[in-house]
Subunit: 162 residues, 2 copies
DNA sequence: CATATTAAGGATATATAATATCCCTATTGT
DNA sequence: ACAATAGGGATATTATATATCCTTAATATG
């Protein structure tokens, strides 16, 4: 069970979008080249962000993506769920209902204990992701990235943003 | 990102093994029929449990599987990791290193912030699973299963255990 | 000892999901 | 008018999950 690499892509793209000056957009092309990713496929991930309402888009030259909300209002969970979907990571197939000892008409009232426990763990994972925002990420990245590289990077992307 | 159904199978099988009388074994066949699962494929999951040291096995008629330790010493994480592997659910491909602004010889010192955050969430998931044991599960199942069905089920499996 | 039953594991087949590319359309800034 | 863009459909490729089959070695039982 491994998350799609699109999740990683989307998070890094959001990190860049978080640092973008007000009103500017970044194209798929720029984001793909910056991260060395396949443009067309990255585009699908960005479309997911758009459909989830996390980013605004605009067409034409100098078009592209920008965050739809301030970075402190976008959580990791928002991004992860936009790309991976909101379904739980554990699917209960109710195999207890195949028990040959089960009376014909018997119906279990709720989900079984196995599922409840697995879903609690899933929820703990989501909780953790919900507590980290893009602005938290931004602060961490600024701290661990050389200032010159950080500046060069934004000069580079803004140069490609028309 | 969805866990293999083998995880569900392994957990339900462990639940049954937890309730088994001392010294008895249950065969793949019995476990498969009890849960309505494909015997050969379930066998692969049980082999994973065996390789992880969670269950003991013995050959021949009346052979099969039993827990290798008391149920309170086997956690959900043990079972999940035996089947799914211990790898983290988020893989960092270091796409920041594709940044064209990155100086030639530059080398990042540690994993990037995105990976650290995702790995923390992964760890929260594992923590939760580590805190639930098979004996916890057993208590929950006993409570939510009609006593007669519970008894019938163990009579049924023990009948098939030689 | 002979036999039936079992786990282990290799080989292979099938189905589903992830990754990737291509192409067409409508929109928009220049 | 033109070039650049997002959106999205269709399709191809690769990887993973699911499933079956078969062989081997061990073992309880008659």
């Amino acid at each position: 069970m491994i998350l799609k690499s699109q999740v990683e892509w989307a998070l890094h793209c959001c990190a860049i979008l978080s640092g973008l000056p007000e009103g500017r957009y970044l194209s798929t092309k720029a984001l793909a080249e910056l991260h060395g990713l396949p443009k067309e496929y990255l585009s699908k991930a960005l479309q997911n962000l758009s459909q989830a309402g996390l980013v605004d888009t605009t067409l034409g030259p100098s078009g592209g993506y920008r965050l739809a909300k301030p970075p402190e209002q976008v959580t990791f969970l928002d991004v992860v769920e936009a790309v991976e979907g909101k379904a739980r990571t554990f699917v209960c197939n109710n195999i207890r209902e195949n028990n040959p000892c089960l009376p014909e008409k018997y119906c279990y009232s709720g989900p079984c204990a196995v599922a409840r426990i697995m879903w609690e763990a899933d929820e703990a994972w989501r909780d953790k992701l919900r507590r980290v925002t893009l602005s938290d990420l931004g602060r961490m990245l600024v701290q661990e990235t050389p200032a010159a590289l950080w500046k060069d990077t934004f000069d580079w992307v803004l140069d490609r943003a028309g």
